[in-house]
Amino acid sequence: MLSLITILSAAAGISLAAEPAHAADAPTKLYGVVTGSNEQPLAGVGLSIQGPDGFSAEIKTDSLGAWEVLIPTKGTYSATINEGDLPSGQALTDPTKGTVKANVFMLGVELRLLFPVGPGVEKATMLERSAQLTVDGLILGLIIALAALGLNLIFGTTGLTNFAHGEILTFAGLLTYYFSAIAKLPVLLAAPIAVLLSAFISGFLQDRYLWKPLRKRGTGLIAMLVVSIGFAIFLRYFFLFLFGGDTRQLPQYAGQAGLELGLVNITPKSILTTVIGIGFIVFATLWLLRTRMGKASRAVADNPALASASGIDVQKVIRAVWILGAALAGYAGVIVTVNQGVSFLMGQDMLLLIFAAVTLGGLGTANGALVGSLIIGLFVQLSTLFIPTELKYVGALIVLILILIVRPQGILGRKERIG
């Protein structure tokens, strides 16, 4: 689902332009990527495409789940997925969507078709689906939590609502892709390098050369919020400029088979990245609770002036918080990249979920971010038991709004925090 939204919103952004001239002789094609639950690409799935004038084609998805068919004329095409080719545990989440229709109005365009594949309705029992979705939800919650912790720490200490936080994930994901797919390093080496560079560039350098000067100038909080929006837009299109618009998988471990563990199916890479992620969370929590710097950061969040007066170097604390936050968010980007692939819009797609989690838990409260993240992650995945998969983010956002009616300060937020 993520990738579906991303590609189309990318196209949308560009369509704001004065109408671009499509070359009429460019090939017209139907294409798509077949992915299962957890966005894992499904290879070798057969598709048949029927069109006007007796046009028909058969194709199988490649190792990345991708397929494309060039079509000769305008008209209505229909693509049917061969459900028998789906691996066990995967099936159409909506059995009526096995055939998708596409109207080709003009030549020279590319039309993307999608099939709603996920933990199958027919093949899995309600119990199995619930178990699988709970695991998926906990993993998503962990990814959100890693990003949300940093966002929340930065908000707590500096008051900055950072709309460019998602781009930290994207940047780390792109670094992982670069070191792994282009520099040919093993993923196990590429990922730590990406996290370290994320801490240094997205954390230390970003604070040192962007936000610290702004704080010194006395730029207001809402002004900084708008600056972060501008920065996010700039970075996003810079990444698009460098990297292109498609979602790319790391070549190593791309088609890793899942392990059957009791009721759930999970890939080894997913287990490993999740365990390390939990380690990061534990480390960050201990840092906050036990170390001098962690305690100082909570003091700064509470009252910067008082903290400064009692001898805490506020700028140093903020720097530490930025470095930790960027490392955590960078690792969240690594998890997404390793398991689902990386695209330039990856961070933007996560950003709303991160914000929802943070708002739900209470802006500026570190443990609130954890609770909020798990709730959002579980809710997004488990809601697909009852609502169409494509609307799962809508459900999470509606829950966010509903909870704010009852508890405007968030679940763990303190009452005086709202104005």
């Binding site: 579906l4 939204i5 189309l8 919103s9 196209a11 949308a12 952004g13 560009i14 369509s15 704001l16 332009a17 004065a18 671009p20 109207n103 109005f105 709603p116 008051g159 609502t161 702004l214 100038r217 730029t219 207001g220 909080l221 809402i222 002004a223 919020l225 708008v226 600056v227 929006i229 501008g230 920065f231 996010a232 837009i233 700039f234 970075l235 996003r236 299109y237 810079f238 698009l240 400029f241 709303l352 914000f355 929802a356 708002t359 802006l363 169409p388 494509e390 609307l391 983010y393 809508v394 956002l397 966010l400 709004i401 509903l402 704010l404 009616i405 405007p408 925090r417 709202i418 104005g419």
Partner: protein, 331 residues
């Protein structure tokens, strides 16, 4: 490099349909943010509601366009109420996050296959739903001059659109200079002080949200009518952010700021794009540096960078008064 062509494209964009859409979106935001201090990041949702309210009734139910416009206004009022009831009590940054979430809910529901039948899914709706509007067009031959070029339909949209903008701007000017407008600005500066005077701040904020939202949804009318189609992904968060750029460029809390901001915004965008495109096409800019398809991306990068620099170095915009708009009174 064809200088005349660049001038023609740029000037047509400066006065064109997109400038009208962004002017209307930004006038609405000016009501929300400039005068009342509400950080509404869901303006794209209002435009989407307006656009879909025009397209769906006409195409799916065969209702007259003029009634569809009324439906659009009613829908945007309902959306404002729905959005306002839970959120207007929230602090500015919470409000920003919740409104952005609400706009995304609208977009994702609009593009979902579940409602494909009536809303058209991710392809949106394309059809001749503006027929009744374009039948009134007396300028069917359009305007073709060396420096300005509109086809017949665009010319009609541009003329009626700017008249609409002028009327709304006049109404805004009357409103913000009335006692009611002073209460709004007072809420922006100090909510508690206004409350202590016995004013119902919540009610005033709701009025602001509704008025700004209705104006935004009119931007959605223009967006849908001018293209005779509605695409859900045109109403993403980027639309809201660029509407803010337009507003801040002109100067928030200034009645004419959205108009000037929208014109300058589109002037710059199209001018830079045309220059880059001409440079790439004539090989003055080497292909390894910027490909033909990358000009749009460069433009978006510049838009982001522009918003950052504007906010850092001139947050009051071109016409704004730094003293009038204390952006951070409540943050």
């Amino acid at each position: 490099m064809d200088i005349l062509f660049i001038i023609q494209q740029t000037l047509s964009a400066t006065l064109g349909v997109n400038a009208i859409i962004f002017a209307l979106a930004a006038i609405g935001l000016n009501m929300h943010f400039g005068y009342t201090g509400l950080l509404n990041f869901g303006q794209a949702g209002f435009l989407a509601i307006g656009a879909y309210s025009v397209a769906v009734p006409v195409i799916s139910f065969g209702i007259s366009l003029w009634i569809a416009l009324l439906i659009g206004i009613v829908n945007s009022i309902l959306f404002a109420l729905l959005l306002g009831v839970p959120t207007l009590r929230l602090r500015a940054d919470y409000l920003a996050i919740v409104t952005i979430a609400a706009a995304e809910i609208v977009r994702q529901i609009a593009r979902s296959a579940t409602f494909n039948e009536s809303l058209g899914g991710s392809d949106g709706i394309t059809g001749k739903f503006g027929k009744e509007f374009f039948d009134l067009n007396p300028f069917k031959e359009g305007l073709i001059t060396p420096i300005l070029r509109f086809n017949g339909n665009d010319l009609w949209v541009v003329i009626t659109g700017w008249i609409l903008v002028a009327i709304i701007t006049f109404i805004m000017w009357v409103m913000v200079n009335s006692p009611w407008g002073r209460v709004m600005r007072a809420i922006r500066e100090d909510e508690d002080a206004v409350r202590s005077l016995g004013k119902n701040v919540y009610l005033y904020k709701m009025q602001s949200l509704i008025i700004g939202g209705v104006i935004g949804s009119m931007g959605g009318f223009v967006y849908a009518l001018s293209r005779q189609s509605v695409q859900p992904d045109n109403y993403g968060t980027a639309l809201t952010f660029f509407a803010y750029t337009v507003l801040i460029l002109g100067g928030a809390a200034r009645v004419f700021a959205p108009i000037v901001g929208a014109m300058i915004f589109w002037f710059l965008i199209v001018f830079i794009e045309q220059i880059l495109r001409a440079g790439v096409n004539s090989n003055l800019i080497p292909d390894w540096l910027i490909g033909v398809n990358q000009v749009g991306q460069i433009r978006f990068m510049l838009m982001g960078l522009g918003l950052m620099l504007l906010m850092i170095f001139r947050p009051q915009g071109i016409f704004g008064d730094k003293k009038e708009l204390a952006l951070d009174a409540k943050a």
